[in-house]
Amino acid sequence: MVENLDEVVVTATRTLRQLSSLPLPVTLISKKQIERTGVTRLNEILDEQTGIIMAPDATIGGGLGVQIQGIASDYILILIDGVPIVGRLSGNLDLSRFAIGNIKQVEVVKGPSSALFGSEALGGVINIITDRPKTEKISGRVSHRAATFNTQNTVVSINQSKDKLGYSIFLDRLSTDGYNLVDREERQTVLPNLNYTFNSRVFYDFSENLSVFASGRYFLRDFDEPSGTSEQREGNAQLRVDHKLSKKTTFEYELYYTNYLTNEQIIDPIDNEILFDSEFDQKLFRPEVRFNHTFSVSNTLTAGGGYNFETLDRSLFAEEVSLDSQYIFAQYDFEPLRNLNIIVGARFDNHSVYNSQLSPKISARFAITPEFAIKGSVGSGFKAPDFRQLYLDFTNALGGNYSVFGKEVERQGIQRLIDNDEITRDPITNEVLLRVPFETLGEPLNAESSVGYNAGFDYRTRNFKGEINYFRNDFKDLIDTEILATKTIGANVFGYVYRESVYTEGLEVNLQYALMENLDLSAGYQLLYAFDKDIKRELEENGAFARDPNRNNQTIRIDRDAYFGLVNRSRHILNAKVFYEVPKWGANANVRVVYRSKFGLTDENGNGFLDDFDNTFVDGYALVNLSFGKKFFKHYQLQVGANNLLDFKGESPFSSLDNRILINPGIQLFGRINFEF
């Protein structure tokens, strides 16, 4: 669907802005697109967008994380109506948590956006914008979708907007039998689970100048753990007051609270002994104030400030830990010349544990003709060290007794191991052998940071839209684990340090063409290079070693050309979509194809990076999705379709003869009936 000129987004500037006039790369996923494709969860619709993929971690079947411009999910901020979501496990945020049955659109800003959103927005921001009730009469929807793996999804929603009051109630129930990707594992890759999303929102206008928005969301997911229990719970409460001081000046006051909880307990089925018990309880409370002043039509100042109170209680931590941070930001969006738009902004974050951060950003767009514009931006991003990197105190009793300490607890942790005589000593002097001086343990961490560059042009006519965008993201101070000491039993003690400097660089192309009034074609492509700079330099200067599987695993020398790059990155990602509509029949159909080229999962031969001699590559593959919809009578719509129509299953490089490991569970058929009133 070629975007309309009236499409507006809020995430890029925190003000309403026309999508087509923005100087930043932004992807907008409309409600119409979501409905036509028949998908129901955020991860599914993101996976079909140019330059965005859901990437598995090294184990296949583990968590899927969203990747934008080659940047991993740890560095991508997820928002609902502008407020942040918490609850990451090992950096990944499970996007299948988010039902998208009641949303207006999903906005994805690519590239660093910390100048507005602070920590975690290095790689981009995904903002789920919920729908506003519009009709005076009660309107709503009841729908049920049934799909492969006995996946049953029921949605009920009711909306009304009458006089000063508007409300919206949304309920989503999903149950599934899940599926298994690993032959040998008895425990399914995706466990059978049942989840509910409940979201209710109220809009009230006290006057023309004062309005209130309140939203409450609750999510509950219960996994059918074969022996034990596993559940996730999430609550979000948001209260916003919009106050127009004048036609030109607006204040927004916002209070936000969220709590994400998981509880996992595995019990021995025979003697009922608790084998594994893990709790994770993260809370965030955030008041924020924003101010907007419009000097003239395209001349707006935005400023704001807020306070984050965060706590996490986790079984692997010695005690509940908390972090505080305060921030202010400002942005000026103006037109110094005709057809030239410039946005400058910066944000300052002060944090109780890590060093404070200043994140500036500048972007500009120049319309050479009404159809053709060039645009570019430079901005910085950062990610605060997370709770794990600060407070983890973990010894893996089941996996070789290695220990990991977060920065804030490493000094005490090492001291404890020394006192227990667990650390190796120099055989001659009997001094404790540490890889880093004891005095430097626990020195505060800097935030991980990046600078991102985007430059490109777009061209649009009545029925065609083309965009090309070059991007480059330079990351420094990426936090990595390092060996602090070795235990007398041979196991290592790990701590967190900065080590890696990586970059991602590439090109994104988007083409949309309305072939006929009701036939839209689109295609997208991303070319990506993602490397660790230090490894690349070392390879260029000195080369490195690998093992040659064709020569009995003997060592060979390799050079720069053999370095494949960062794990989980595909050089090429492609999508092509056709949407067709026959209005007089109330029917529509679409086919969407997504392709990602080969990617590697992990270093295998021990040289510390992914090279051509590692046998851990997943071959490139394509998924074909399609769906058909037709209206019946006045209120009914029937939809049938298939995701992964060609039944691609793939094979993980970790597969073996007696243990097949799949990449994808295969074809998923679905049917949906929808009643709207």
């Binding site: 290695y402 000593r425 055989p427 060996i483 070693f545 695993n553 003997q554 295998e604 021990g606 046998n615």
Partner: protein, 294 residues
């Protein structure tokens, strides 16, 4: 045409000279032997004997090494080139011309050939439970026999899970480790196996209280452990050079920690603690050459 003529003239002159000398013994000047190069080498080594007044005819010269006749490749008046014959043993080189024998003042040392081998599936288990300190006997290996050994003294290196001990220095203090009674040691070098051609310049560490000559732990010594895949990979480009219990030298490249050296081990299923390694062993006392046979 001109060249042919020259050659013919030369041949004629030579013929005349040889013919002449046959008749005239007094014309033979007494030969001397001054040096031999190299002074040691295994069977098949080409050696050059330098001297004066050697006869021009190969058949006129007999050469023995330690009493065993060697075949002569070429002779000139100042050099004899010969090959160390099979069965030769260390001893003087003797050159005989017309019944006159002269020997080198020092012995030529016939060396045993370097031994190249692959040890497959050396099993290095631990008797302790997973997560507890390793226990149980080390699996000992002797380069001389090219196999595992039960000897308490004639072993060079020993394995238990990922830990490698050398028969030199002192005990480290770990459970059930073998007594160190040899003069072994170890050095870790960054190179291809074939690039290590001598043990000359290396510094050899020995085992001692709390530490092994080959450091334990992931990325510290010879291996990397990837906890996502549960795979122990021998670090590529790490060549272990050993001094054996009796002061000889060997180099080792560990190829795999899994049974039958799979190209792509499955860290959760393949039987682990099975070492496969290539080695080159120099069985000659004091010799540091470690050139791999191509």
């Amino acid at each position: 045409m001109k060249t042919t003529l020259k050659l013919f003239t030369l041949l004629f002159a030579l013929f005349a000279f040889v013919g002449c000398s046959d008749d005239d013994d007094a014309a033979v000047q007494e030969f001397t032997v001054t040096s031999v190069s190299p002074e040691s080498g295994p069977v098949g080594t080409e050696i050059t004997i330098t001297g004066t007044n050697f006869p021009a005819d190969v058949s006129a010269v007999t050469l023995t090494i330690g009493g065993v006749t060697a075949s002569i490749t070429s002779v000139s008046s100042t050099q004899i080139v010969a090959v160390v014959p099979a069965g030769a043993s260390t001893g003087a080189i003797s050159v005989t011309v017309d019944g006159t024998a002269k020997s080198t003042s020092s012995d030529f040392r016939v060396l045993a050939e370097l031994v190249s081998g692959t040890m497959e599936n050396l099993f290095a288990p631990s008797t302790s439970n997973f997560g507890e300190p390793a226990a149980g006997p080390f699996t000992k290996f002797s380069f001389e026999t090219g196999d595992v050994t039960d000897s308490d003294t004639e072993w060079d290196i020993a394995f238990r899970t990922t830990t490698i001990a050398v028969n030199g220095g002192a005990v480290t203090g770990t459970n059930d480790e073998p007594e160190r009674n040899g003069s072994g040691g170890a050095a870790i070098e960054d190179a291809l196996f074939s690039e290590i051609t001598s043990a000359d310049t290396f510094t050899f560490a020995v085992d001692g209280t709390g530490a092994f000559a080959i450091p334990t732990g992931s990325d510290n010594g010879w291996y990397n452990y990837n906890f996502m895949t549960n795979i122990v990979s021998p670090l590529p480009g790490k060549i272990l050079v050993f001094r054996t219990h009796d002061g000889k030298y060997a180099k080792v490249e560990i190829l795999s920690y899994y049974q039958d050296n799979p190209t792509s081990p499955d860290g959760f299923a393949d039987p682990a603690r099975y070492y496969t390694f290539n080695y080159v062993y120099n069985p000659n006392d004091g010799e540091t050459d470690l050139t791999s046979a191509e």
